[in-house]
């Protein structure tokens, strides 16, 4: 198991290097440069010369790539701190630790739920594999190796890229998590119900609506929600239910706890729904197909022939088998959710990584663009590994060697 994870991590690093090279060359090939706007100013000649020298913009492309790579992986000179301060203090709060914590806790919850519906109570032993991965991640997070990285300086003069990205990551994480949860708790039951009532009116309507939602571009969905559920809703009923910009109200700090939660939900609902809708449609269609395949399987016939009630046949024997293929889909869809967040954040003025990314592209800020791409790449590589491990938990036939 450990050897398997290590091997997968090595493959992951190779993938990431290839990704960075391709994206770097694409940015170079797309024309324009970080100093284009400055060049409009006739009095900035000296500054332009200085920045060109400092950022190495006059060097050959491959040399610029290696300069970027060096800045990306070199730790900054951060003063050493005591272990406990590293754990709970400045660096602990600086970025990944809470995210790693939430991610692993989430993975653990999903795992526990799947085991629970399968009623295989002795399997908590397997939890150790996940906890182990989680401990390694926590150790990396605590050690200076990861947290003293800056990922280079932004070309827009706003400090280390790492700080910018992880300053915005919380907002994107909140949005993405809300969208993912929404997609899972609506999409999967929807697909299962459609499969159980195949060809019913509900199934037909569901299939048609999924198809429509799946083929509508996200910016139309987002603007549509803004118009219908915020603008017209307020105009027609006088109720201001949802907000269309930002993460929280300007008066957020003065509100009580419940009012704060309400404020968060009212800001979060529309952008999260915009991102989730396509995933809901995708999950429902996929889950329906997967469930139908399982419902026609021989072992389901056996379960019926044993005299099990239909409910047990579906909930116990069909569901767990039908969830196996969707694990892959969900892990791959995380990329789709981040992609959706880029557009949605810009439409809803959400201060997340997506909006930062668009701003960086407009300013041709290589280090920030590269860092956003790389963090998405790292996330996908990690999610794929987690999905493969989850496969082993769900399906006893999978063995790692």
């Amino acid at each position: 198991m450990l050897a398997y994870i290590i091997r997968r991590l090595v493959y992951g690093v190779v993938t990431l290097v290839a990704l960075s090279l391709v994206v770097f060359l694409l940015i170079q090939a797309s024309g324009g440069g970080p100093l284009d706007r400055l060049k409009l100013n006739p009095r900035a000649q000296n500054l332009i010369a200085q920045l060109t020298e400092q950022w190495g913009l006059d060097k050959p492309v491959m040399q610029q790539y290696f300069t970027w790579l060096k800045n990306f992986v070199t730790p900054a000179d951060v003063p050493a701190a005591d272990g406990l301060i590293v754990l709970f203090g400045k660096i602990g709060l600086r970025g990944l630790t809470p995210i790693v914590l939430v991610l692993s806790a989430g993975a653990y919850t999903v795992w526990a739920f799947l085991v629970k519906i399968g009623q295989a109570w002795w399997r908590p032993v397997r939890a150790f594999s996940l906890v182990f991965v989680w401990l390694i991640a926590l150790w990396l997070a605590k050690s200076r190796l990861v947290f003293s990285l800056t990922w280079g300086e932004s070309f827009r003069g706003d400090g280390p890229v790492w700080d910018n990205i992880f300053g915005a990551a919380g907002a994107t994480f909140r949005l993405g998590l809300a969208a993912l949860v929404m997609a899972l708790i609506i999409g999967i039951p929807l697909g299962i119900y459609q499969a159980i009532r195949q060809y019913s009116f509900f199934d037909q309507v569901g299939t048609t609506l999924s198809f429509v939602a799946f083929s509508t571009p996200i910016f139309i969905i987002a603007v549509g929600f803004q118009l219908l559920l915020a603008l017209y809703l307020e105009k027609w009923t006088g109720v201001k239910l949802f907000f269309v910009t930002g993460m929280s109200d300007s008066s957020y700090g003065d509100l009580g706890f419940m009012a704060q939660m309400g404020d968060i939900v009212r800001h979060l609902t529309l952008p999260a729904m915009s991102i989730a809708l396509i995933s809901i449609a995708g999950y429902a269609r996929f889950q329906r197909a997967s469930m139908l395949e399982v419902m026609h399987s021989d072992y389901l016939r056996t379960a019926k022939a044993k005299g099990l009630p239909r409910r047990r046949v579906i909930l116990k024997h069909a569901l767990r088998n039908a969830l196996i293929p969707i694990v892959t889909l969900v892990s791959l869809d995380v990329a789709g959710i981040i992609g959706g967040a880029i557009i949605t954040e810009s439409i809803f003025g959400w201060p997340g990584v997506g909006r930062l990314y668009i701003q960086a592209i407009n300013a041709v800020d290589y280090p920030t663009i590269m860092a956003v791409v790389m963090s998405i790449g790292i996330g996908i590589v990690m999610m794929n590994i987690v999905a493969d491990i989850l496969y082993g938990v769900l399906d006893p036939r999978v063995r790692y060697d």
Binding site: Y199, D298, R301, T302, K306, G307, L308, R310, I324, P396
Partner: protein, 318 residues
């Protein structure tokens, strides 16, 4: 389309019945109908009665039918590789059945499950309860299926081609095992197969099915020794025999099974029959006595033809 039409038969307690016929003859559909496992949109039971121990199964509410399934009538299937749920242990699946029908504690159910695995000669049954289906070989999985079927002491076991997917030596072991278990417990067995050799060693009585109906019924010795229907005669003639020299080409029943969407008029076997006459095109023959007690055949000519005296190879050669 009528997959099974006009099929009517009785079975005695403890009887071992062979149901033979080629693919698509309605053997499996008959069995699935007894279990009421035919569900729309795949198909439905339009009319008829299925009486089991004085109860009409077709009139039972679904809840009561669930007690019959697995409890009083058990069924095992053709492909043991796919008939067990891959994500649960064999023990889980056995214990589930036992607890459903016998109302015992989980601990007792586990013991009964281990006994059931022991009965089908799986070594170390207690330990193997915790193994998953993929950790068993094909033959072992079919043993597990048999154990699951018999764990609740059903009165009738329907075995739908239980050995078709297994290799020949395993087939023999499985059939011997089923014979022994059925005899010990007095369980009636309905064995569906297209393997006449398997039927001969196992069954008391045989019904031959063709194109959705029964064409011949009789006790095993009579039916094999003296087939009354040309189809049975053709099937028996197409078997290889160890006691004859193989100088001739092996006989086969010519043609292919008819389409049930548009079946031939009259006797459904008439396009393939070597003895076809005008009457065969006019009316569908009912099952009738064929001169021999307890043997009936659906053939207009059953009493006239003496198939026993006709050499199969002679007909084919002409």
């Amino acid at each position: 389309m009528r997959a099974v039409d006009g099929v009517s038969f009785d079975m005695m307690a403890g009887e071992r019945r062979g149901v033979v016929g080629e693919s698509g003859s309605g053997k499996s559909v008959t069995a699935m109908s007894i279990m009421r496992l035919i569900e729309p949109p795949a198909g439905e039971i339009v009319t008829g009665t299925i009486e089991f121990q004085g109860q009409n199964l077709l009139a039972l509410p679904e809840d009561d039918m669930q007690d019959v399934r697995g409890g009083r009538i058990a069924m095992i299937f053709q492909d043991p590789m796919t008939s067990l749920n891959p994500v649960y242990t064999v023990g889980d699946q056995l214990i589930e059945t036992i607890m459903l029908h016998q109302h015992v504690s989980k601990h007792d159910a586990r013991r009964i499950a281990a006994d059931a695995l022991g009965d089908v000669q799986i070594p170390e049954p207690m330990a193997r309860l915790d193994d998953y289906p993929h950790q068993f070989s094909g033959g072992m999985r079919q043993r597990v299926m048999i154990a699951m079927g018999l764990s609740c002491n059903p009165d009738l076991l329907i075995a739908d081609e239980p050995t078709t997917a297994l290799d020949v030596t395993t087939q023999a072991q499985i059939m011997d095992l089923m014979l022994k278990l059925a005899e010990d417990r007095g369980t009636a067995v309905m064995l569906i197969t297209h393997d006449l050799g398997v039927v001969a060693g196992f069954c008391d009585t045989i019904q031959v099915m063709y194109a959705g109906g029964i064409v011949e019924y009789g006790n095993a010795t009579d039916l094999f020794g003296n087939p009354q229907h040309p189809y049975t005669w053709g099937l028996l003639g197409s078997m290889t025999r160890l006691d004859e020299s193989h100088t001739e080409r092996l006989h086969s029943v010519r043609g292919a099974p008819p389409s049930l969407i548009n079946p031939p008029l009259g006797c459904r076997f008439n396009p393939r029959c070597d003895f076809v006459q005008d009457i065969c095109h006019d009316s569908y023959p009912a099952l009738r006595e064929s001169g021999r007690e307890s043997q009936i055949a659906a053939c207009h000519l059953a009493t006239e033809l003496d198939l026993n005296t006709i050499d199969v190879t002679g007909v084919v050669g002409s």
